[in-house]
Amino acid sequence: MRVEVINQNEVSTRAVVAVGVILAAAFSVVVVTFGIDSVMSGAHDMFHDFRHVIGMACH
């Protein structure tokens, strides 16, 4: 019984980490897609060509 509880906790932790990675990726995609320099300095210039090639709005 004790082993089952430990495994469930491990499973929950891994699920939370996985969902956290997805949310972090979503935030990063927004920063890259719109070139938000205030969040990541240089994001606009770094991904400028990528943004154009995938059809996102840019100047």
């Binding site: 990675v21 997805i22 990726a25 990063s28 990528f50 154009h52 090639v53 995938i54 059809g55 709005a57």
Partner: protein, 135 residues
């Protein structure tokens, strides 16, 4: 389920990086945009950008594939296109709010739609083949 999410994220990183770098070649063929940065810079930027899109699409596919009625490839294409469309819609809204800062190009938009479909296809086949190996 969390093992599926983990596999979706790892597969998404690889598929996204491959598709991102592949978009450099595709853009050379279509000529939709004239690159302003060096090839070395773009190789890194497109691999990272593609990998981020891949993580997001792969993770979401792993989360929602049980609720979608289609096969893995179709589900991945749907998720990838929906993610891209949402971002593109927000970009169109920003272009409306600040047309001097943001503006859109129709040929680049079609190319971006192609990127999302390509990412979905590659991601879907990668998840499908990975599923066969583990089954």
């Amino acid at each position: 389920m969390e093992e599926g999410i983990g596999r979706g994220i790892i597969t998404g990183i690889i598929a996204g990086a491959v598709c991102g770098v592949g978009m450099i070649a595709l853009n050379h063929i279509t000529g939709a945009f004239n690159f302003e940065s060096s090839l070395r810079h773009n190789l890194a930027a497109f691999a990272i950008g593609g990998a981020l899109f891949g993580i997001l699409s792969g993770g979401i596919v792993s989360l929602v594939s049980g609720y979608l009625p289609f096969g893995k490839v179709a589900n991945a294409v749907i998720v990838s296109v929906v993610v891209w469309t949402l971002l593109r819609t927000v970009g169109a809204g920003l272009a409306g709010l600040d047309p001097f800062r943001f503006h859109s190009d129709i040929s680049q938009t079609y190319q971006g739609l192609g990127f999302s479909i390509l990412l979905g296809v590659v991601l879907g086949f990668a998840l499908k083949s990975g599923g066969r190996k583990t089954a």
